[in-house]
Symmetry: C2
């Protein structure tokens, strides 16, 4: 529980609008007008008061302004996590910095929330004026947060998307398109025996968008290119899971010549496993990832991948949020971001 401020001995403490008014011999009304750049203030007065403000080192008390104004000037970025540790590998730093920059530019504060919110806590954040809007991460098809906020008519934006999108604003990655293009590229290189390492089954059980759409896209691709299904739903999006998943696939079908993964770390694990089994990537085995590009170059060989910029996505989501707040009339914005094919070293034509 927050206690009082510590700087009781600080000289700047307590310089209020009243002090400024007194010191410059005007009413607080006039000072307020000057603070808020309203018209109808004599230039001479304005200059004099501004000087006093400078001299006293006065800054308007944010809480008081907000109390009067109604808005909190704060946004929240919410990732629903059982434990904050689990976020590692799921949320990239640029995801957070992107939102933070956009918020900063729009003069909003950005609170990063990682917790299991309850419906009550969530509503309370709006009701108690802690936040004006929220950016939702890890949205599942039937997300209770979405249902609740929609019903209560509180402003929010999704990174991802749920099933019923009517009147909802979101930005999401076009994962199906990415999957399609990844397989298309592999097939164009001559690969036919292709393994697929996808999101955890627990994600699919939880009805998380990417997991659902990955499987749908995969089925479509199998049919389109007449491929046999060799795939695993991994337990985590981790190097270790990619490692053992790859070994599993290899055991199932030793004739595999390529693997596509739904995550860069998983691809790193694949390369590790393949190297250990005596394969050489990309000479006699190709690996390709779909996802955010942060570690693409850390891996040797660097990963060919269908990629999005996590920075851009969260930056944009935050702008969507502030736009919505600035203009209630704005219709819902729905953006699907196409991935970019990044040709690097981990793929090669089948010889």
């Amino acid at each position: 529980m927050p206690k009082r401020k510590l700087n009781s001995s600080n000289e700047n403490r307590g310089v209020t609008i009243t002090d400024v008014a007194k010191a410059s011999g005007v009413s607080i009304t006039t000072v307020s007008r000057i603070l808020n750049n309203k018209e109808y203030v004599a230039d001479e007065t304005r200059d004099r008061v501004n000087l006093t403000i400078q001299q006293l080192g006065f800054v308007a008390h944010t809480q008081a302004r907000r109390l009067r104004g109604g808005a909190s000037g704060t946004l929240a970025l919410h990732y629903p996590a059982e434990s904050p540790h689990q976020i590692r590998g799921l949320v990239e730093t640029p995801y957070i910095t992107g939102a933070a920059s956009a918020a900063g530019e729009k003069e909003y504060f950005l609170n990063f929330l990682i917790s299991q919110l309850t419906p009550d806590t969530l509503l309370n954040m709006y009701r108690s004026n802690q936040i004006d809007g929220m950016i939702l991460l890890q949205v599942c098809m039937d997300d209770w947060r979405v249902n609740l906020l929609r019903e209560s008519n509180y402003p929010f934006v999704m990174i991802g998307r749920c099933a019923n999108l009517e009147d909802l604003t979101f930005i999401d990655l076009d994962f199906e398109d990415a999957l399609l293009k990844a397989f298309e590229y592999m097939v164009s290189l001559g690969h036919q025996e292709i393994g697929f390492l996808t999101y955890p089954q627990s994600w699919r059980d939880a009805q998380l968008g990417p997991a659902i759409r990955a499987m749908k896209g995969y089925e479509y691709v199998l049919h389109k290119y007449d491929l046999q299904p060799y795939f695993r739903e991994l337990e985590f999006n981790s190097v270790e899971a990619g490692f053992s998943g790859t070994n599993d696939l290899l055991r199932e079908n030793p004739k595999l010549t390529a693997i596509i993964t739904a995550n860069h770390s998983v691809a790193a694990g694949s390369i590790k496993a393949l190297t250990l089994q005596g394969y050489s990537v990309p000479e006699n085995f190709s690996v390709m990832a779909v996802g955010f590009g942060e570690i693409a170059n850390v891996v040797t060989p660097s990963l060919t991948a269908l990629e999005w910029s996590s920075y851009e996505v969260s930056y944009q989501a935050t702008i969507l949020m502030t736009d919505m707040l600035a203009n209630e009339e704005l219709p819902a914005q729905q953006i699907l971001v196409k991935p970019t094919l990044m040709l690097r070293q981990s793929t090669q034509a089948l010889t």
Copy 2:
């Protein structure tokens, strides 16, 4: 600039303490007492009012409470960046989530700030009651933020440390110890021709703690183990910089058998360069990193390293901050975190 809240049509809008008082037939004073768990309220009254609160879905307005209470209940985590893009690779996600979790547990909000603050903007955050305290990242030896806040007597905590530490609270990584142990381990494996890839010269010019101490520790180590100096200050802590830095070192001394880096991504670049030059890590070349462990397992072979947990460090820093805020009398806490030697696959005894 924040506008009004959007949910004008929301049913929960505007349920105030006055509504609760009216609906339950008591004064707002009594309601306030109940909200704040004060004594001297009849059980019967308490129950009745609590029921009304539930029925009306009332939650106290945060801004109003804070206006009255004086504290903002908000902390800021500040990374001074020219451009938010540059943070990539410098700040790991757990760095942010660690602080966010700790703040959450202590019922504080956590604002993540990435910008070039000016002295004025910085002071204003405190003066205007936007924040109660700040956690400073990327602290340099003579940091203007530190000087200013110290002078103004505003509460803050450093992750890192400056030159004059009197009465200042910080948590920092014992980089010198890490460097010492890294070289000690390499030498114990029989390596004598060891390259060192360290922080950018620009960091040293900016008097950033780690860069300064890295060079000091390095000089000490050279002397202690009677080694020849082969080192480079890289332009960035990146894979690419590690790659070209390694090639440079190899050109300078082809007899090198080991490289130590001050960053994991740099080590990934080293391995890339070595592999391409026909070396095999760890069979005939050892690589070791000092830093945060996020990508240690992504690399093949996985990196032997002296490591810290970025999550733990920022979690602790945040707790230090809230402790300080909760108790003005608390003496300055100064914590130096020792690294852990993580034995993985990228090192081997010289044969």
